[in-house]
């Protein structure tokens, strides 16, 4: 696979031109995504890591999320307005999730949890 970056179309200045990313980069990202997913599944089955399961899995998922958003969605190379439009609401969504979990005592121990797997 050769590195063949996409040249900016001369008739569309400012449009879909991603000169910084090439096919080799995309392939490398795909390999990383595969490895990270394999690590996630492995971590899930390794009992010794049960204590750190949540932070490790969240870190691995964040890495995958960032790779896809930055390289496949071209946020790293495109106009920063796109990043603001995406990351802004994403932060609100994360804040919403954390707020709701706190409000419903998920972080504490007073929940109505019944069976451990439920």
């Amino acid at each position: 696979v050769s590195e063949t970056p996409s040249p900016p179309p001369p008739d569309r200045p400012g449009a879909a031109a991603h000169p910084a990313a090439g096919i080799r980069t995309y392939a490398l990202i795909a390999v990383f995504l595969f490895l990270l997913t394999a690590m996630e599944v492995a971590v899930f089955y390794i009992q010794a890591l049960a204590g750190v399961l949540i932070p490790v899995l969240i870190l691995l998922a964040l890495a995958k999320f960032a790779l896809v958003a930055m390289f496949y969605m071209h946020l790293r190379f495109d106009h920063p307005w796109f990043s603001y439009l995406f990351v802004g609401p994403l932060m609100i969504a994360v804040g919403l999730a954390i707020g709701l979990l706190w409000l419903f005592h998920v972080f504490g121990s007073t929940g109505l949890r019944t069976p451990p797997g439920g």
Partner: protein, 331 residues
Amino acid sequence: VFLHNAVRSVRRGPPAPADPWDGRTLEWAIPSPPPSYNFAALPEVRRRDALWLTKYPDARGPGLADPAALVTPRGPIHMPPPSAWPLLTALAMLVLSAGPLVHLGVVVVGGILTVVAAVGFALEHLPARGAGAGGHAEPPGPAGVDPRKLGFWAFLGSECLFFGTLVSVYLVYKGRSLVGPYPHDAGGVPGILNIPLTSISTFDLLMSSFSMVLAVAAIERGDLRATRRWLAATIAGGLIFLGFQAWEFTEFVHKGLGLTTNLFANTFYVMVGFHGAHVSAGVLWLAALLVLAIRGRLGRPQAVLVDIAGLYWHFVDVVWIAIFTLVYLIR
């Protein structure tokens, strides 16, 4: 008297020339009938009563920079032609939204009309069938940003909030189901989630993102054959993922997990089901692009259309990355 005058003028009156009143302000500088773009070039106004001073110069200085430039285009002007599709789309959406008040059939009819009108609207400005990679390019918006991509990123931002809410509700009710089946092993009872199977479908979706980005790269360098190949591969990846999801849902129902069985079922089906609906919409979108590419109506000037479809597909992928971790892997 006005109506009589208007009708008589329209039917028998002589055509009005440009500037019939010997006007003094700028709007009288354009020809008659006025072109849809009004001014061919942005007029540079140096004085009040700019046109008057151009016609009748006095000692107070120049009026317009160059009145002839206003009617002589300096370059190609891009103006979308008049279209009925936006109005038809709005009317179809009216039928769709009024449907729940009347009958389910009206919802279906409104939905079909909305899809037809939206597709007609979307395809209107593409080059004709067999025209090859022709067509004109959209001018960039402010700061060189394509306004369609900007709008689509705003949409993806709203989608973050949509899925954020669904995931939040799932997590809030996680572990609060009073009856089984439960997602993970509990008290010697095996969980219902099939991690190996979902790992495979996750890998499949990730690889479809890879083929999607290759399709975007291919059309940006004008390689239509590779574009068609990678679009087809992405569609296949999406269909395989949907097949896995259909199989999973069917298994769950056979194991007694209906939509209203418990809190887990309710929140799980709504969240994962909405994600599956997004994947289905993406498959249809990509299939439409593939058909256009095969018919020669998609070329390098339309690369941004494939780019935007790619953004949607990757977004569906990153949502699944979150769901796979938060729902399937975290006990």
